[in-house]
Symmetry: C2
Subunit: 312 residues, 2 copies
């Protein structure tokens, strides 16, 4: 498998990306060849400095960088020689199997949506986030911001894609799916949720447990938590702030430590044909390593194919 990494994306590029690559390559199980896309001279120099073996590495030179603040569509169109544009070109043409970047999030989303095909039948791809649970477990929240306006059928697809991801990547057997709502009873919530509930209830591909409330988000009640992107974004950012707050207040507790989302790496775009993983701008070496591992797991477990089967 060939996993591509945008070496120019993120606030500490390319140094932290190189360090992440080194960490990955020092592991036991290295089935992947890493395509490092970026400034060739800089990357070579850093690989040498950090004594990284070139055995599983292929350097793909790029000549431009899409800045964090650039307009995604415009930048992708105009900067054909940027690391992100080259990455999507290689992914779309089949030369790479997965693509990772901590660069311009918008450009990564546009690339994922328009360079790579959506899985057959998927109305719109989605992005999810891991949510630490108070009992030490891990949940999945989706959508977290890509789809602010959703139809019931989209939420139903999020439930399926989230279940497959939770099972294959997070290792949760028969994940419990909850619909994020303002009350537990069927019939609660706005028109979207009222129309979504019966779809989830009848969906044989998922283990639907009903509505969950705000109080259940950080508790183990549901493993896969489904909502439209507006609500998901508010929840995710509020959750993220718990790490900052626990640091400010010097609270030492494993649970709050786990809201340090930097360490997880990135979030994959779900519903597209190949793994595309978008990292935080502040990604450090550990985040890059985790993203490479995530791409590897998604390819090994054939997550995309499983989603396709469950969606049909």
């Amino acid at each position: 498998m060939n996993i591509g990494i945008d070496m120019m994306g993120g606030d500490f590029a390319p140094l932290e990306a190189v360090k992440g690559v080194k960490e990955y390559l020092s592991g036991h199980n290295i089935p992947a060849t890493l395509f490092l896309i970026g400034d060739e001279a800089q990357i070579k120099e850093l690989l040498k400095q950090h004594e990284v073996s070139l055995e599983n590495i292929k350097i793909i030179p790029s000549e431009e960088v899409i800045g964090m603040q650039e307009h995604p569509t415009k930048a992708l169109k105009e900067k054909k020689k940027s690391s992100i544009a080259i990455g999507f070109h290689l992914l779309a043409s089949g030369k790479m199997d997965a693509f990772i970047s901590a660069g311009n999030t918008g450009a990564m989303l546009v690339g994922a949506l328009f360079s790579i095909k959506a899985l057959e039948g998927v109305i719109r791809p989605t992005i999810s986030s891991i949510v630490p649970k108070a009992d030490g477990g891990t949940g999945l929240l989706l959508d977290v911001g890509l789809n602010a306006d959703c139809k019931p059928e989209q939420l139903n697809q999020f439930a399926i894609m989230g279940s497959v991801y939770a099972q294959l990547v997070l290792g949760i057997d028969n994940p419990k799916v909850g619909l994020v709502n303002v009350g537990e009873e069927e019939g609660k919530g706005n028109l979207l949720l009222q129309a979504t509930y019966p779809l989830l209830k009848e969906n044989k591909h998922i283990n639907f447990i009903g509505n969950i409330e705000g109080r259940d988000v950080l508790q183990p009640k549901a493993d896969v938590m489904v909502c439209e992107g507006f609500t998901g974004n508010i929840i995710l950012k509020m959750a993220e702030s718990l790490y900052e707050i626990s640091q400010q207040r010097k609270v030492k507790d494993d649970f709050f430590e786990r809201f340090n989302f930097e360490i997880y790496g990135g979030t994959p775009v779900l519903g597209v044909a190949k793994p595309v993983i978008i990292g935080h701008g502040i990604s450090g070496a550990r985040a890059f390593m985790n993203m490479i591992h995530l791409a590897q797991i998604m390819l090994e477990k054939d997550v995309m194919q499983k989603m396709k089967e469950e969606l049909s």
Copy 2:
């Protein structure tokens, strides 16, 4: 001033209500006469047992109780002699100036909306919640569940009512108003928020600071946080769960202690002509005392009149 208390509402009625009344009456500043509405024999017996002076007390006998699970509109209609129905009757007829209950929330809302007039010009009343801030301060979030579907003009009114409440009751000078959204820039969010932003920006009655994100909810960025009731309900319940989680995990920190919403007492319905305060079902003595104090402050500061002025 006459403050009415439903002695039969809440999980520990009438005992905790009696204890709360006792605590209130043992304070320095007792400008209010308390109307205790409920089972006369029970209340008298408990007042005697707890050696409560009858000086500032008037007992109003009721013969029925609206249960926590009863249908609000139906129960209010059929149980005319219930403590809640009697309370709203006395409030509407001017014999009481404020009404407090930890009973059936729906019945309290229906009573507030239909027995008491809305303030002139108010499209729909709202309910708010205090939100502890990580720096030790306190914010106000509204709406937290009464109005799931809102128009921009309603959010604009929430901003005004919230600002008056934050200033007069929470003691925050020139409170900063933030619109809860998925990004900071103007133009972010769904159609409702895009249309609300300019209204808030042009509103001379408030100190609008722009959009705030999920990460800002528990931080001091904004004092008054405006959203529709769906988002507000999810945020509030997620915040409430932080207390439970900190207890589970034995985290000792003042900030997380403050998410124990039981101690605050209740939330007033804003936008109606008189203070109506709705308590948690689990309200204890301290919550009842706090609710009586809140009613007193709202009457002393003439919060309703100030809202009316600012809204016009």
